[in-house]
C-alpha cells in the first residue's frame, strides 16, 4: 500500500519502555491486558468509548442469503455479531491535519 512502516505491538511496547522503567516483556503484557479488557467489554455487548479516539460497538447482524462469489453458489450467512469503530470527531480532524 505504501512504504511507511506498519505500527505493531512492538512499537507501542517500545514507547512504553522509553517512558517507564519496565522490560519490553512487561510492556507487551500490559498492552495485551488493555486489548483484552476492551475485548471483554465488547464480548458482553458493551460499547467501548475512548474519548478523543472513537467508539467500538457491537452490532447484531441478521441471517441473510449470500453467494459465494467464486462458485456463484447461494448460501445462508448465519446471524452474527460484527464490530464497528466510529472515529471521534477529534480523530477525524487529526488525520486531516497533516499536509501528507
Amino acid at each position: 500500500m505504501d512504504s511507511k512502516k506498519t505500527l505493531t505491538r512492538a512499537d507501542i511496547a517500545n514507547a512504553i519502555v522509553s517512558e517507564f522503567k519496565v522490560s519490553k516483556f512487561n510492556a507487551t503484557e500490559i498492552i495485551e491486558d488493555v486489548l483484552e479488557e476492551i475485548a471483554a467489554a465488547l464480548k458482553e455487548g458493551e460499547s467501548v468509548k475512548i474519548s478523543g479516539f472513537g467508539t467500538f460497538s457491537v452490532r447484531q447482524k441478521k441471517e441473510r442469503m449470500g453467494r459465494n462469489p467464486k462458485t456463484m453458489q447461494e448460501a445462508v450467512i448465519s446471524s452474527r455479531k460484527s464490530l464497528t469503530f466510529r472515529a471521534s470527531p477529534i480523530l477525524k480532524k487529526i488525520v486531516n491535519s497533516k499536509k501528507k
Binding site: T8, F20, D33, E37, I50, I94
Partner: protein, 93 residues
C-alpha cells in the same frame, strides 16, 4: 465502557501501579495509534484488528435532506477492521 473504566480495570490487574501511571500507559497505547494514523501509517494489532486511513476523493454531493448540491473536499477517514480472534470472541466462539 469508557477510558476511565478501562483504566480502572487495568489497575485491578496491576494493583502496585498508581492510577496515574496506568492512565499514562493506556494513553501511550491510544496515542501511538493516533500518531501513526496521522502519519498515514497502518496499525496492525494481531488478533485484535487493524487501523488505517482511507482517502476520499473530492466530489460533488447532495445534501440528502434539502437536495442542495454541495462540493465535498478530499478528506482522510480513519478505519478499523476487527481481527479474526476478536471476531470470534464477540461471537462467543
Amino acid at each position: 465502557m469508557t477510558k476511565s473504566d478501562l483504566i480502572m480495570k487495568i489497575s485491578e490487574i496491576y494493583p502496585y501501579m498508581s492510577i496515574r501511571n496506568v492512565d499514562r500507559v493506556v494513553s501511550i497505547v491510544i496515542n501511538s495509534i493516533v500518531d501513526a494514523l496521522r502519519e498515514d501509517r497502518r496499525i496492525e494489532l494481531r488478533g485484535f484488528g487493524s487501523f488505517w486511513v482511507k482517502t476520499r476523493e473530492a466530489a460533488q454531493r447532495r445534501n440528502p435532506r434539502t437536495g442542495e448540491k454541495v462540493f465535498v473536499k478530499a478528506r482522510r477517514v480513519p478505519f478499523f477492521k476487527a481481527g479474526k480472534q476478536l471476531k470470534e470472541v464477540i461471537n462467543g466462539k
